[in-house]
């Protein structure tokens, strides 16, 4: 539970009055009822975007968050050596794939139209990869891997990754997952 700070500076566990000193908490600002950009009414009241101009109420920008220019990419390869006994045979003629990480948050997974999952790093050829498998997040020049509760787990440089925990990545790190998929993290030059 996030801590809330009262006007006296106490950390409160209640949202109406401070749980330490009883001071009345400041009212949260009323949510916008119309688009600050084009004055169109915000409908429904909790809409994330303006229906008229596409203004994003959360970020204050238009449209989806802009891609950030990043120097990071992953190289997707198939490594038959990773195969376990239950795995099907690895595809023989798999062309290594370079995926540039352009978003703040990059999903590794398998595409599903039905579930509306469209991963940035799509590994549709390996059915032991979860639809939502892991995330590579970029923020303030740092890069981190997080397994988001995949069914079959993720390994970083050969050791199992604890789900839902961020692990810093560096150039050359090896992420292995699924039957025989290997991702190599690379800081590309330019």
């Amino acid at each position: 539970m996030p801590q809330i700070v009262c006007p006296q500076g106490h950390e409160s566990q209640e949202t109406d009055f401070c749980s330490v000193c009883g001071a009345k908490m400041a009212e949260p600002p009323a949510p916008a009822t119309k688009c600050p950009d084009c004055d169109a009414p915000r409908e429904p009241a909790n809409a994330a975007f303006c229906e008229s101009c596409g203004f994003n109420f959360a970020t204050g920008a238009h449209g989806e968050p802009k891609p950030i220019a990043s120097a990071w990419e992953v190289l997707v390869t198939v490594d038959p050596a990773l195969r376990t006994e239950e795995s099907p045979a690895a595809p023989v003629s798999f062309e290594p794939l370079r995926v540039r990480l352009n978003d703040g948050s990059n999903l590794i997974g398998r595409r599903s139209e039905k579930r509306a999952v469209f991963p940035q790093v799509a590994l549709d050829f390996d059915d032991a990869v979860s639809h939502r498998h892991a995330l590579i997040e970029l923020a303030d020049g740092r890069i981190a891997l997080r397994d988001v509760g995949s069914a079959n787990g993720t390994r970083l440089n050969g050791s199992d990754v604890e789900p839902l925990r961020d692990l810093a990545l560096k150039d050359g790190d090896q992420i292995t997952l699924g039957h025989w998929t290997r991702l190599t993290v690379r800081a590309s030059a330019g």
Binding site: D16, F17, C18, V20, G22, K24
Partner: protein, 422 residues
């Protein structure tokens, strides 16, 4: 499922610089089935079988206990203790089956009134029995006609410490030779009431009423939890309806700023009022703060759950039209507490022979009872004083006052009237 409802009545506006916040909280249970207890009910009966009970009283007490046993539903559990110098277990804890009832009644018939009165031993026996069924609703009835032996006093105090929170106890005094303070001490600690049964033939009706109330309870071990802000002080916390019980010194402190006051078991459609008086650090004009957060906490096999909550506010203002208005309920119960105090002090003065003070205080009591519509108390007052004017509170002390009448007035003076709808 749980239907506890808590509502606070107060005038939240305080004059600038004033620290005292008063509020009345009304707690109502619509249905509390399945909360807090296993659903089992244990009824314990302790009747005085000391030498002083010899004659009509022991017969009436035995008869009333036998009748009460017959009334017990088969799903309840019961035990019976005959009290003398020692508490003697006449019928150990058992289901109220027809066989067990008959065995208990046969044992009760053999009881003879003999020996002294050592109430601590009676309660000790009851505690042993109740502790066999800790999850049940545990209700005891204690009937006596005399004073506890002086030597038993310190033992009784430590026994009450052991019994507190383990069972509830209703205390009844038969006749006029028992001490109100003594039984009040027991019933207050064990969350029951004390009342007088003026004649032995009235015991049965009273037992029946206690049993009905006990069987109606379906949630036990409810605590009233009061949170106060840092630097605040709880001046008092009292139950004010149906009767006045001062809980101020009874709180446990599960954490800093939290006070847990015991309220015992609750039944269907039960409603009680509480009066909180909290002193906080006063604020300036326009400041608003929470002076208290009152909630009801039910503990089920070690797990606490909050079943109702209400907030007590303080808003400082320099607008006198707001800050000088007294909340009707706060005013009413302040008056009822004043009424009980006037009766207590008035009877005290009367006993000392100070007729002037007694007349003044009992007269004030008559006026307060009249103003608040507390007719039950007015009726009891009229047996002690001749009333000339209820409105003015002018009275004359009766020349002859039966001791039972004075005791009935004193024991029942803490019964309050509820405020009628405006």
């Amino acid at each position: 499922m749980n239907q506890f409802k808590a509502e606070v009545f107060q005038n939240a506006y305080l004059p600038v610089g004033s620290p005292e916040v008063n509020a009345i909280m009304t707690v109502t249970v619509e249905s509390a089935l399945g909360l807090g207890s296993t659903g089992d009910k244990v009824i314990g009966v302790i009747f005085d079988a000391s030498g002083s009970m010899e004659g009509g009283k022991i017969h009436a007490a035995k008869d009333a206990t036998v009748r009460l046993i017959w009334m017990l539903p088969a799903e309840t559990t019961f035990f019976v203790i005959a009290g003398g110098e020692h508490g003697v277990l006449m019928a150990p804890l058992a289901r109220a089956t027809s066989d067990n009832k008959q065995a208990a009644i046969a044992a009760i018939k053999r009881v003879k009134a003999i020996g002294g009165t050592c109430i601590s031993t009676w309660l000790g026996r009851a505690l042993e029995q109740f502790s066999l069924m800790p999850g049940a609703i545990r209700q005891c009835i204690l009937l006596t006609d005399g004073e506890n032996e002086k030597e038993d006093e310190p033992l009784l105090d430590s026994m009450l410490n052991a019994c507190e929170g383990q069972f509830q106890c209703e205390c009844r005094g038969v006749g006029a030779d028992w001490k109100i303070e003594e039984l009040r001490k027991i019933s207050a600690r064990l969350l029951g009431s004390t009342d007088i049964i003026t004649r032995p033939d009235l015991i049965e009706a009273d037992f029946k009423r206690i049993l009905e109330q006990a069987l109606n309870k379906d949630v036990s071990d409810v605590a009233l939890r009061l949170w106060t802000p840092q630097g605040a002080r709880v001046k008092f916390c009292k139950q004010v309806s149906p009767d006045i019980v001062d809980l101020t010194g009874r709180a446990r402190q599960p954490a800093p700023q939290l006070f847990d006051y015991p309220t015992g078991a609750w039944g269907k459609a039960e409603s009680r009022d509480y009066h909180f008086c909290i002193e906080v650090n006063p604020g300036g004009a326009g400041d608003e703060m929470l002076a208290g957060r009152a909630s009801l906490v039910v503990t089920t096999s070690g797990v606490e759950s909050k079943v109702a909550e209400a907030r007590i506010l303080a808003i400082w203002t320099d607008d006198e039209s707001k800050s000088t208005r007294l909340d009707r309920r706060v005013a009413h119960y302040t008056g009822q507490a004043d009424l009980a105090q006037s009766i207590h002090d008035g009877l005290d003065a009367h006993a000392r022979g100070d007729e002037e003070t007694a007349t003044a205080l009992l007269g004030k009591a008559v006026r307060l009872a009249y103003e608040s519509g507390n007719e039950a108390t007015t009726r009891l007052l009229r047996r002690v004083v001749d009333v000339e004017s209820e409105e003015q509170g002018t009275v004359r002390l009766k020349r002859q006052v039966a001791k039972e009448d004075a005791m009935a007035l004193e024991t029942r003076s803490t019964k309050t009237a509820r405020l009628s709808r405006p």
